[in-house]
């Protein structure tokens, strides 16, 4: 039976206990982390995830309960044992990198060894090895502040590993980084977990990072709400068959990371009531629509992709339906472009006969899509109304109401449900046009 490297029993941490500004950061949580696991403590800000991390690091004493690292309680250490713990058992990287600006990159990495009185030759060798491994050795003699964020974080990773600790803590390590640097740093951490076999404990509020972990602890308001094992990774923690089942709710939580289990249940039910395709399909469909509107897929390619079966990684949508989707998307994009051009010309104060044609184009599409029945003499008034909305003179609600109002009162006398559909569809087109 594998022994956990970190064991937390009923950990309760209260800031300013007994005072008016008393704050419960953790409310008696228990968890176990096993050697070589990659754990993410996930939750919105203020959920207690960082509190838990710093408590495990040995610098935030529990109000009650117990933290055991390798079977020992770091809060019972004297300062010498504490220093030893920090030098040999744990390493940490921070969101803001926290390099010492007055030291060179090399000295920053070697700093833990400097405190441990390691000879300059040996520590420089070790520092350079790590810098080289993380691809920042060419900056070794620069000062930390002259590096990019991604480089700084890789230097910080090197620093955290220079003592060869067993556990690596990371507090929002990519929170300050652009997506490319973030990807590099996350891959580095994964490599440290897989290749160096270090236990990695990462704190984040970013759901994109969740697939990196073996297990994710979801925290909210100082409690661990649930623990989810990543089905894509071979688990280290032994899970007895039958004790855990990966349900739709777990999958949903990846799409809506901040939702509570209650909210996820509601979403699941509403999805069933309103849509005939499941979340899995929706997710894959979204991916393909994204590629299609970015122009990365041809019409033909799009249809074929949608038709791919679930087993092949597709959303499994029938060919006929996929054709309809394709048509509708093309129309939406076309109309969105018309609206965009109309607005661009309008704001640039360009007058052109094409402007009227664009209004007519959108009008025709609305009438077609929503099957509106309009007498010919109402057409100019409808176009006038469209112009107002597209120029932003009236709101969606005004537009819908004026469609409904009887002709004798200056409206168009459209049936209420048709008016709602038409204004809803128009808003979609305008919205698409704005973000083309």
């Amino acid at each position: 039976m594998l022994e956990p490297i970190i064991k937390v029993n009923n950990l309760r941490i209260v800031y300013n206990e007994g005072r008016a500004n008393e704050y419960y950061a953790l409310r008696g949580e228990s968890l176990e982390i096993f050697p070589r696991e990659y754990i993410i403590l996930f939750g919105p800000s203020g959920c207690g995830k960082s509190t838990l991390l710093y408590s495990l690091l040995g610098i935030l004493p529990p109000s009650s309960g117990e933290v055991l690292v390798k079977g020992e309680n770091p809060y019972k250490y004297d300062w010498r044992q504490m220093v030893k713990f920090q030098r040999s058992t744990v390493g940490i990287i921070y969101q803001s990198f926290n390099l010492i600006p007055s030291l060179t990159v090399k000295d920053n990495v070697a700093l833990p060894l400097i405190f441990a009185s390691v000879s300059p030759g040996e520590r420089n060798k070790r520092a350079m090895q790590l810098l080289k491994r993380f691809g920042v050795d060419q900056h070794a003699d620069k000062f930390g502040t002259n590096l990019s964020g991604g480089q700084m974080q890789r230097v910080a990773v090197a620093r955290s590993l220079v003592n060869d600790p067993e556990i690596l803590f990371a507090d929002e390590p990519v929170g300050n980084l652009d997506s490319i640097s973030a990807g590099q740093v996350m891959d580095t951490l994964e490599e440290i977990n897989m290749k160096d076999q270090k236990t990695v404990i990462l704190v984040t509020h970013d759901a994109k990072l969740l697939p990196y972990a073996h297990r994710v602890y979801y925290l909210k308001d100082g409690t661990v709400e649930r623990e989810v094992a990543n089905p894509e990774k071979k688990q280290i923690k032994q899970i007895d068959p039958g004790t855990s089942i990966l349900s739709e709710i777990e999958k949903l939580s990846r799409i809506y990371p901040y939702a509570t289990p209650q909210e996820l249940r509601v979403k699941s039910i509403v999805n069933f009531l309103t849509q005939d395709i499941g979340f899995d399909q929706i997710e894959r469909l979204e991916k393909n629509v994204g590629a299609f509107i970015d122009g990365k897929l041809t019409n033909q390619g799009f249809v074929e992709r949608l038709a791919k079966g679930i087993d092949e990684g597709g959303p499994e949508i029938s060919k006929d339906r996929a054709e309809i989707f394709k048509e509708k998307i093309n129309i939406i994009l076309k109309e969105a472009r018309e609206i965009r051009s109309y607005r661009d010309n309008f704001t640039a104060k360009v007058t052109s006969p094409r402007q009227a044609e664009r209004i007519a184009e959108v009008r025709a599409e609305l009438i077609r899509e929503c099957a509106m029945q309009l007498p010919d003499e109402a057409i100019p008034r409808f176009e006038e109304l469209l112009k107002f909305r597209m120029r932003g003179f009236i709101q969606q609600e005004d537009f819908r109401r004026r469609l409904e109002i009887p002709p004798e009162e200056g409206g168009l006398g459209v049936a209420p449900d048709t008016a709602r559909t038409a204004s809803w569809y128009l808003e979609k087109l305008i919205g698409q046009g704005m973000y083309l």
């Binding site: 610098i59 300062w79 010498r80 920090q86 030098r87 940490i92 300059p120 955290s160």
Partner: protein
Amino acid sequence: MRAGDAFKLSTRMFKTNPARTWLTVLGMGVGTSAVVMLVGLGFGLQNILLEKIVFGDTLLSLTVSPPSTNAVVLDQDAITKFKTMPDVLDVSPLADFQSLITYNGLSANTDLQGVKASYFKYAGIAMAAGQPFSDDPKDKNNIILSSAALQLFGVEDPKDILGKNVSFRVIPNAVNGSGAQEQVTLQGTFTVTGVTNDVAAIYAMIPLDTLSAQIGITSYSKVQVRAASSNVLNTVQTAIIADGYQVSALSKTVEQANQIFGGIQIVLAGFGGIALIVSAIGMFNTMTVTLLERTGEIGVMRTIGASPRDIQFLFLAEAVVVGFLGGMTGMGIGIAGGLIINYALNVVATHFGGTAVALFAFPGTFLLFITCFSAVVGFITGIFPARRASSISPLEAIRYK
């Protein structure tokens, strides 16, 4: 942590914040320089005094004079007795008479003192111009005047009277009961060969042999007794006092002068010390600000394996380095300032006919003391910030913004 690394880490501020660090050093330097300059002035004044009055022989001489009761007299017997005392190297008497000195047709009262050449050394008489006479017979008509005596004749520059001739009429000690005062003209022409720097007493000095050849000397008014060494000075003094004479020793005066200057130096150092305290407070302030500024850094260091002692040590080392450099700077400023002031004063003094003097002195031991002292002041100002730095909770330090 290794000493070299500690030094490297605790001198980072010269790179990261050179302006502020050097200003702190300068602040300490100015404070220290006040101490250096003022105490240096004390040493200088002391040296001037001692240089003027102290010669080796002078310090080892006792001035013996008869008691005011005249119970015992300083006559030839007494001198012989002193000479035969153990530990007495030499005896040099002074016989003096009231006399009239005539120069350039002007006459004035003066004290005529007959002495041997050795008296000059033993009494510590310094010359403003010319040379004292020797015991050689060719010098028998050479005389010495005090600077004060020159004023009788309106002579400004002592050099002007050198080589000039004067004559004396001596009024020998009144024989008891006779009441009559006879004047005896000293035979011979006397040439002034030297002028002492004494501006208070009016006297002329003549070789004792010349004087005794013409006037009967029954007693002496002073005798300089040269002791063999400073160790026996007190023994000799006690022995002579036991015979009923009054004894004063210049070494006592020097001792007293040293005591007084010790006091003066303490006062001067006190004034300088105030400046130093002000700069130490400034440095303390800077160290505290530095602490606040580095709070985050301290937290990071604590989480990557620095012990509280490492942190404390770094802060203390930094304070000592700044204090030490402050001391060095202060010495530079103080010595340079002293020398500049001295130079300026000497230019003025020599312009108005005075003599150039070294008003400031900086003994090596004193400078060594200042070096250590400034490092200690740095250390003391660093104690509180260092202790605080080492006791900050790492978590609070990390979260400190």
